[in-house]
């Protein structure tokens, strides 16, 4: 097996050292265990050999006791000693290892066996009753015993010598172990030095080479490559080198594609810059146009964001307040100039709602300003407000014009009416109080004409004023619940007195259905009805005028029909216009009294109540039908 990886090599070296150490220790421990055993054995042997002497001595002495007084007890003691000797024999036979000792032991054993055989014969003599040889046997036994004692001493000396030998062997083993261990350590150290040196060659040098390659790459040289011998390396360094090589290759590819991309980006940037230039110019032009438009506005125009910061303002606002620099234009400052008018508060109020808010007229330095707040949403249709446009318009001139017109009408009304009132009042008084004194019918008629002219002039002035008020919307239209049948009946009844003076009949046609309550101004509805019936009377010399009521959708319709002169188609179109009268011609106007404003006034009144007025039909010589509508009250409202 060939070991290639650095880690595997390291592991192998380490395991080898560990294995050698373990084996050495094991050998050492085993040797020591054996020696200790031997020592123990020597001790036991010495003890047993001493015991053998005493046991032999016991056997001889117990035999002597038996010889002197043969009893079973003494015989037993002898037998036990004898048995003991054989036990020790069998033990020592196994435990004595040394060859010389074994020979000595065999001699001792043979002598003791002879002693015991002698004693056994002496025992048998006593048992047989033969006592003559007893002393000789004891002497023979003692002779053997002396020999035994001497030889056992040799044995003991042998054992002790053996122990000394063992001691020497132990110290020799220790020395060998020490030497061997020391050399192992030295060997390991040497191996380690060699290994690290080889590693430095195997790892550090290749790493340094890779490092220098990496430095070259970071220096911009991407054409370098890893040396072939590093790539061929089979260990981790080889693997690293190969990865590094792959990295260099992919880096090179990336760099190349990046170069391509850079070129493309540069191209795109160039064209984008051109586009931006064009767009910027267009935007600038657009912006200039917008600014010019805003600056050409005659009224003050400010765009304010939600923090009340002025984003944009026009020249008119600078002129209006006499601002010199842009910095001066703040909402707070304008509010201050307007006598503390709370623009911010009004704007905030307006931003909460929907649509544009008109501020009340603001007085500023003898000028009257009209303010408009228009919320700006983030995009059209969005609810999110991002600011507002404040428009401040100087309407002083318009106000002056309006006031002078109002004043003109007031003065005209007063100044015209006063002399007319005097004419009317005085003529009527002459006729009332001094009528009998005037006998000449011509004078009477002249007075009557003067009176009538005055009244007519007063009516004309009234109509003018009425039209002026109606056109300006300066009049109140009450919203009253109207019982139309009752109202119409009363007006018809009131008009009967006038009708009686002419050869005309005025009739009210009872409605065929129940007429619901209508909504409108009672006085104004009466005025319109009187006007329509009055017109019918004017243009009907003799005949019939009818008034009727109908329901038309959500309206109550009042219809006035006459059998008068009728209106030509050409004149029908001019009805309801200012100063129009539907006579045969303009010259025919003096046929009947009137300013030609009646229908025009009626139209203004009816439309202000939400209704309509018009000519339903007309035929020359046969009569006309006029009608107007008043809305029905919505019961839910």
């Amino acid at each position: 097996m060939k070991i290639t990886g650095i880690r595997a090599k390291l592991t192998f070296y380490f395991l080898s050292i560990l294995f050698i150490s373990v084996v050495m220790n094991a050998v050492f421990v085993i040797q020591h265990t054996i020696i200790v055993r031997r020592y123990e054995q020597i001790g036991t042997n010495i003890f047993k050999q001493n015991e053998l002497i005493s046991a032999t001595e016991n056997a001889i002495s117990s035999y002597n006791s038996y010889r002197n007084a043969p009893t079973d007890l003494n015989l037993d003691l002898y037998t036990a000693s004898r048995q003991r000797i054989y036990d020790i024999f069998s033990y020592l036979d196994k435990s004595i290892v040394k060859q010389e000792s074994r020979i000595t032991f065999a001699a001792v054993q043979k002598t003791i066996v002879n002693v015991l055989e002698t004693l056994d014969r002496g025992v048998r003599d006593i048992q047989d009753g033969t006592f003559e040889n007893l002393s000789a046997r004891v002497a023979e036994a003692n002779k053997g015993f002396t020999f035994v004692k001497e030889n056992i001493s040799d044995l003991l000396i042998d054992e002790i010598g053996y122990g000394a030998e063992l001691q020497t062997a132990t110290s020799r083993i220790n020395t060998i172990y020490l030497l061997f261990g020391g050399s192992i350590v030295l060997i390991v150290l040497a191996v380690l030095i060699i290994v690290s040196f080889s590693w430095s060659r195997q790892i550090i040098l290749p790493l340094m080479r890779l490092d220098s390659t990496a430095k070259k790459i970071s220096g911009g040289d991407i054409e370098v490559s890893v040396d072939q011998d590093l790539l061929d390396n089979k260990d981790e360094v080889g693997s690293l080198s190969r990865s590094f090589d792959v990295m260099i290759h992919s880096l090179r590819e990336s760099m190349n594609s990046l170069k391509g991309m850079n070129t493309a980006i540069a191209k795109a940037r160039d064209s984008a810059e051109d586009l931006v230039k064009v767009r910027t110019r267009e935007l600038f032009e657009e912006h200039s146009r917008l600014l010019a438009s805003i600056n050409s506005l005659s009224f003050g125009f400010i765009i304010v964001d939600l923090d009340q910061k002025v984003i944009l303002k026009n020249v008119a606002i600078m002129n209006l307040f006499g601002f010199k620099s842009d910095k001066e234009v703040t909402i707070q400052k304008i509010s201050g100039l307007l006598g503390g008018f709370d623009i911010e508060g009004e704007a905030k109020k307006c931003l909460k709602g929907k649509g544009v808010c008109e501020l009340k007229e603001i007085l500023f330095d003898k000028k009257v300003l009209r303010g408009i707040v228009a919320p700006i949403t983030s995009k059209s249709g969005s609810e999110e407000k991002i600011g507002y446009v404040l428009i401040l318009e100087d309407i002083t001139e318009a106000k002056v014009m309006e006031r002078s017109r109002d004043e003109f009408f007031a003065v005209a009304s007063h100044e015209l009416r006063t002399p007319l009132t005097a004419i009317r009042g005085n003529t009527s008084m002459i006729m009332d109080s001094f009528g009998e004194k005037i006998t000449d019918p011509d004078v009477k008629e002249m007075l009557s004409d003067i009176n009538e002219s005055a009244i007519r002039l007063i009516d004309i002035v009234n109509d003018f004023l009425e039209v002026s008020r109606l056109e300006q919307g300066r009049f109140d239209i009450k919203k009253e619940e109207l019982d139309m049948p009752e109202l119409v009946a009363r007006v018809v009844r009131d008009l009967q007195t006038i009708v009686k003076q002419k050869n005309v009949k005025l009739e009210l046609i009872e409605p065929s259905e129940k007429i619901p309550k209508a909504l409108g101004d009672k006085g104004r509805v009466e005025q319109v009805l009187v006007n329509l019936v009055g017109n019918a009377l004017k243009f009907t010399k003799d005949g019939l005028i009818t008034v009727s009521l109908e329901i038309s959708d959500q309206f109550v319709m009042v219809v006035v029909r006459d059998t008068g002169i009728g209106i030509s188609e050409q004149n029908q179109a001019r009805l309801f216009r200012k100063f129009q009268q539907a006579g045969e011609s303009m010259l025919a106007r003096d046929v009947a009294r009137g300013t030609g404003l009646g229908l025009y006034i009626s139209r203004l009144i009816v439309s202000s109540m939400g209704g309509t007025i018009g000519l339903l039909s007309s035929e020359l010589g046969k009569g006309s039908t006029f009608a107007f509508t008043v809305p029905i009250i919505e019961l839910s409202a």
Binding site: L420, T421, R424, N426, S428, D432
Partner: protein, 126 residues
């Protein structure tokens, strides 16, 4: 006994016409040419008039001022008042009635005879 009528009117034309009309109708008449004089004369008058006719548009003080002054004076506050004007403003009529006038009449719309009829309505109530 003749009824006493007070007329405040600055325009001589109107003044003469109404003066003649009321005298012909059998009234005693006290006149004033403007608002200030009217207030002064009304306070001095003894007995107080049975009815007062006040023009609205007068120099110094208007008919409304005279009306206010009368309503603040305990001796004058119960006298019936007719406001006369040739300004046909609905606002003026409304304001006059609110201040305590009994009637608002546009001069041009009524002949002297019609005005006297109204005056008689008020004075005969007493």
């Amino acid at each position: 006994m003749k009824k006493l009528l007070f007329l405040a009117e600055d325009d001589p034309l109107m003044n003469r016409m109404y003066g003649r009309a009321f005298k012909l109708a059998g009234y005693d008449l006290t006149e004033a040419p403007d608002g200030e004089a009217a207030i002064k004369r009304l306070k001095e008058m003894n007995p107080k008039p049975d009815i007062a006719l006040l023009d609205i548009m007068m120099p110094n003080k208007s008919g409304f001022d005279v009306l206010r002054a009368m309503k603040e004076d305990k001796d004058l506050k119960d006298i019936p008042i007719i406001l006369l004007s040739n300004l046909s403003g609905q606002e003026d009529a409304k304001k006059g009635i609110e201040l305590g006038a009994d009637l608002f009449m546009i001069k041009s719309e009524f002949s002297p005879k019609q005005i006297i009829e109204k005056v008689e309505e008020f004075t005969s109530k007493k």
